[in-house]
Amino acid sequence: MKRFVGFIKKEFYHIFRDRRSLFILFGMPIAQILLFGFAITNEINNVDIAVLDQAKDATSKEIINKIAASKHFSIIDIIEQESSIEAIFKKGKVKAVLQFDNNFGSNLIKYQQTTVQILIDATDPNMASTINNYITAILKNYQSDINDNVTLNYQIIPKSRMVYNAELKSVYMFVPGVMTVILMLVSAMMTSISITREKEQGTMEILLVSPLKPFQVIIGKVFPYIFLSVINALVIVLLSIFVFNVPVNGSFILLGFESVLFIITSLALGILISTISATQQTAMMISLMGLMLPTILLSGFIFPISSMPLPLQVISNIIPAKWFIIIVKGIMLKGVGIGFILKETLILVVMTMVFIGISVKKYKIRLE
């Protein structure tokens, strides 16, 4: 045990004396979560739009007021003729123009049905469809408001409600994803690099010739990273709560346990990588290309798995991150208990055991 403590102390010296690894350990998580939270976002705020109100009746004014009041849009121009629409788009001043016909309000009263023209600059298609959704949502909202006061109502109003992320906040989506990516990166890449460094320096041989047993060496190497990864997970969760107001609806303790499980899965992967790579560079390349890319692309973090082609959907099942993201979303956003994420948890446990099993086998072959 005393030997072990000495070993861990040595590991911490390595980590704290290497500025690069310190930066990866602590700078990166904070930078990533802030980047994903603030800069890379699917929601829209203060989008500039213009209004062409030819009706100038009570209904159109109410709708314009409603849009102006929303924080997603700001009406920066009121135009008078249809001919100026093109000019204002060309100048790039606005992303959308709302056009109310002469008969806008009267049609509504006469036929109980009317139309509003929404023109959207679709040079950025994602943005355009988001704007469309937002404006449509505001209109629907208004429509249901007026229908409350009308006794006769022929319209069918679709009532959709966004669950778990009612405001469609993209940061809700990113937090579980970023947390997964960072834990994977820190645990797998850092451990594989630190183990291969010992091999490269020739110190691994010295350690193997010493009375320390091989598994003690490996546990000694990964232990500090378990500790640091737990701190990282905590930092991410605290940042999400206090900076982005993402709730943790479920149990904190359960989230903690699941995180430790995923950290161990990643560490096992890191050990596995270190057994097949001879140099730090190789370990880093394998971690980045073999782990990070699939983790980001195939885990459902950015691209929904359900819309992938079937072969990729199948492959996504062997990505540990996929299961952890489901777990974190479940606990943080839906507030579910262990019962609902039992399958995912078990899958991670089995994966971890497989990785450890392969590493032990590879390690023994190498010793031979």
Binding site: K10, Q201, G202, T203, I206, V209, L367
Partner: protein, 242 residues
């Protein structure tokens, strides 16, 4: 008189698939001896050494190191041997003091023993002023001497040196060999592999491995007589060329 032999090897063999890396080698090393283990690259000396230090399991044959069996008692062997590899093997990002403490620690020395060893060691090597400097800041020669001292920190019965003087200047090599003599004088057995034939002359006895077999084993003097030359280099060349 068997107790005098700290390494006893009989027909030790290691196969990798069909390839015989070490082919039934037999030799013994006496206590306090400096035993030179020579051979060209790929002759099998590293493989043979790995079996002796307990990190590779032999295919067949017998071997006892410090009285322990290389099949079943590798843990006891590890406690009784020191090892220094051809790659310099201390931690560059730890200080001299931390390195000594760490290696003392993994060999199970107590704090008191470590402290005592450390002050002896830095005193002997003249490293008192740099105790708290990172090892990376030391010249290669100093590092190598320190690595050798660290491999002796737990007073092992045998120390295995795998090409310990690679890339070191002649003066430092000389000083290094003085340290080896000192250790041998104190009763530590030295098992050393080397490429430098002049270093072979410093050994009490040398073995020369060719293609997995030990082709010659004697004192440098007798080997030179046998092959009728006046340098170990020529002995080596004659053997290696067959």
């Amino acid at each position: 008189m068997k107790t005098q032999n700290v390494i006893q090897v009989e027909g030790l063999t290691k196969m990798f698939g069909d390839f015989t890396a070490v082919n039934a080698i037999t030799f013994e090393v006496k206590k306090g001896e400096i035993f030179g283990f020579l051979g060209a690259n790929g002759a099998g000396k590293t493989t043979a050494m790995k079996m002796l230090i307990g990190i590779s399991s032999p295919t067949s044959g017998l071997a006892k190191v410090a009285g322990f069996d290389v099949y079943k008692e590798t843990e006891s062997i590890k406690k009784n041997i020191g090892y220094m590899s051809q790659k310099f093997a201390l931690y560059d990002d730890l200080t001299v003091k931390e390195n000594i403490t760490f290696f003392g620690g993994i060999y199970g020395l107590s704090k008191k023993q470590i402290n005592q060893k450390r002050s002896e060691l830095v005193e002997e090597l003249g490293l008192v002023d740099v105790t708290n400097s990172l090892v990376s800041s030391l010249p290669l020669g100093w590092k190598q001497k320190l690595a050798f001292s660290v491999s002796l920190i737990h007073n092992p019965k045998i120390v295995f040196l795998d090409e310990p003087t690679g890339g070191v200047d002649p003066i430092t090599r000389r000083q290094f060999w003085e340290m080896i003599y000192n250790a041998a004088h104190k009763g530590t057995t030295i098992f050393v592999t080397t490429h430098y034939m002049d270093e072979a002359e410093y050994c009490d006895r040398v073995s020369i491995m060719v293609n997995g077999k030990i082709e010659a084993l004697d004192t440098p003097k007798k080997l030179k007589e046998q092959y009728k030359t006046d340098s170990m280099n020529d002995v080596f060349l004659k053997l290696a060329r067959g």
